[in-house]
């Protein structure tokens, strides 16, 4: 009997690695590519230095009024002076600590959920989800325990943006999941209700929903009965976004093979248990990119609340730039607003990537 000897594994050839090889392969692989590369460098040369000069090198960093902005570049003094308004809107200055405390509570409260050794995450998470909104409401709104009442029409800036975005998501996510399940229900009545709801809310623009909630709704309500403007906007946003969440989640549900449903059923798990323990965990994991997409879109859409006279971050900037004392500062303001929006959205996007990796048990089923 002969024994077959396998050839040993050899290292790959050297010239396919290293920065030189990379540049040759990606930037200068042919005459045409070399030309395009040089052209791209030229474009970068045209665009980047002026931006650097405007934003950093020639920018004005210190001062208190518009007159202090003597250099050619951006006048960041404007942002410094109006920072409070951008963050809190017209929330009274001496009470702004309450907003800060609300944010800190959220950060401290959520932190244990990221400690992997922490047991009982589910119970802690649930009680946090129930308690935090109540505490946050009383802290921000006041009117109890001797806290001065701050009506919602004084809320604004980034704080308002965050309130609308988080409440919107916290409400839309569970409602959307229920709608997605309902749309796939065997019971025709439930299916019809869910389909109608989803198609109605997806069919109208958010701006219309907000407009209706502030202009049309009071016409139907009895005289003198007012619902808070922010509350109306929140309800509108939740109903609107839940329709989108529902469709995203439904996509995930459809991707779960029939075998998973059958295996769960064959073990004696009923509808709710097999949905909650087997189907949803997999479906939601699959649609993380889609859900984050929806969340980011909602975060940016909050600016539409200008239509009902609420001033979120972007609209606070717009308002401040219209101040005669700071005329001509709109560019700085918008760049600042864009930067803040970008930081939040990019953060969410990175977190979703991290979450996908963490939940990935690899491997197809």
């Amino acid at each position: 009997m002969t024994t077959h000897t396998f050839k040993p594994d050899m290292p790959p050839p050297n010239k396919v690695f290293g920065p030189m090889a990379w540049m040759r392969a990606n930037l200068f692989s042919s005459w045409l590519n070399t030309l395009l590369t040089l052209f791209a460098f030229y474009l970068i040369y045209l665009v980047v230095p002026p931006i650097l000069h405007w934003a950093i090198l020639d920018a004005n960093w210190v001062g208190t009024t518009r007159a202090d902005c003597t250099k050619e570049g951006a006048c960041w003094v404007f942002i410094q002076q109006r920072f409070g308004q951008f963050m809190y809107g017209y929330y009274p200055g001496d009470l702004r600590w309450r907003v800060d405390l609300t944010v800190w509570l959220a950060i401290v409260g959520v932190a244990p959920l990221f400690i992997s050794r922490f047991q009982r995450k589910a119970i802690y998470g649930l009680s946090f989800l129930v308690l935090y909104p109540i505490i946050a409401y009383f802290l921000l709104h006041g009117g109890i325990f001797g806290l001065t009442n701050v009506p919602t029409n004084r809320w604004g800036g980034l704080m308002l943006t965050l309130v609308i975005a988080t409440v919107g998501i916290a409400g839309a996510l569970p409602l959307g999941i229920v709608l997605a399940l309902g749309r796939r229900s065997n019971m025709p009545a439930i299916r019809v209700i869910c389909v109608t709801f989803i198609e109605f809310w997806r069919g109208v623009p958010l701006i219309t929903v907000l407009f209706m909630s502030s202009v049309m709704l009071p016409l139907f309500l009895p005289e003198g009965m007012g619902i808070d403007k922010l509350l109306r906007a929140l309800i509108g946003v939740i109903l609107f976004q839940s329709a989108y969440v529902a469709e995203v989640v439904r996509g995930g549900l459809q991707a779960i093979p029939k075998g998973q449903y059958e295996a769960a059923a064959a073990m004696g798990l009923g509808y709710w248990r097999s949905t909650g323990l087997v189907i949803l965990p997999q479906a939601l994991k699959l649609v993380i990119p889609g859900l984050v997409n929806t969340v980011i879109a909602l975060f940016k859409d909050t600016s539409l609340v200008i239509i009902i006279g609420l001033f979120d971050l972007l609209n606070s900037v717009k308002q401040a730039a219209a101040d005669p004392k700071w005329l001509g500062m709109a560019t700085e303001g918008y760049v600042f607003a864009a930067l803040v929006f970008w930081i939040f959205c990019f953060g969410m996007s990175r977190y979703s990537v991290h979450l996908e990796r963490k939940l990935d048990t690899g491997h197809k089923r």
Partner: protein
């Protein structure tokens, strides 16, 4: 919450199918199936594809609904009542062609899920039982891996252990080796043979005729939704009566 209506298990058998008919739309898939299975009996169903053998065993735990006839499993009649269906599913384990393990749970969690949520077993007890059965299928060291990290043969053995964790009275196998690479078929069949030796009531749809010959008490041949022939394995393979059976056997036993 009312309990499922249960009658004493009839001497006829732990499974009784009487005049069962089923249609997919116009298509008549099961035609007047009569089948009694005694406790501890091991039955192999075979036949060409589309003959209704998978549908037959899937009717036993209501993964498929039958439209006519009567099915009684372990003294519980299968009706539209969810209580009855769930009572049966608690006592009937099933192993699928494509394993259908839950990819988001570890092997151990796959095995403890149903005992904890259906039988309301405390976690520690469920894990004890799960480890016992994982040892039986000889993969306790994989307990904390995810299904995607296991080979097909290992996954199917986990699926068997997962079904056993519910301590079922009956095990249904729906082509358990058909999706496996050839060198993994034996490890799964060995596990099933071990189960048979312990006296488990088994119904198995398979094309593994060697397995049928050594393990089965009875081999049932189905074609076009009907039970064409049933006999003890030796009679069935050596002396098939029906010409359809003869043709089928000549095609698979080259």
């Amino acid at each position: 919450m009312s309990e499922a209506i249960k009658q004493p298990v009839s001497p006829e058998g732990i499974i009784q199918m009487q005049g069962v008919n089923k249609w997919y739309g116009q298509f008549h898939v099961l035609k007047d199936i009569n089948l009694n299975v005694k406790q501890g009996e091991r039955i192999v169903l075979c036949g060409p594809s589309g003959s209704g053998k998978s549908t037959t065993i899937r009717c036993l735990n209501r993964l498929e609904e039958h439209q006519q006839g009567r099915i009684v499993v372990d003294g519980v009649e299968l009706t539209n009542d969810l209580k009855q269906i769930e009572a049966i599913r608690r006592e009937v384990g099933m192993v699928f062609q494509h394993f259908n393990l839950f990819p988001h749970l570890t092997i151990l969690q796959n095995c403890t899920l149903a005992p904890m949520w259906v039988r309301k077993m405390p976690k520690r007890k469920a894990e004890e039982i799960a480890m016992h059965y994982l040892e039986r299928v000889r993969i306790p060291e994989q307990a904390h891996k995810f299904p995607g990290q296991l080979s097909g043969g290992q996954q199917q053995r986990v699926a068997i252990a997962r079904a056993l964790c519910m301590k079922p009275k009956i095990m249904l196998f729906d082509e358990p080796t058909s999706a496996l690479d050839p060198e993994m078929v034996k490890e799964v069949l060995d596990t099933m043979i071990g189960l048979a030796e312990d006296g488990m009531t088994m119904l198995c749809v398979t094309h593994e005729m060697g397995f049928a010959r050594t393990v089965a008490n009875r081999v049932i041949f189905m074609d076009k939704g009907e039970i064409v022939e049933q006999a003890a394995p030796n009679d069935f393979f050596d002396n098939p009566q029906n010409e359809r059976t003869q043709l089928f056997l000549s095609q698979i036993l080259h």
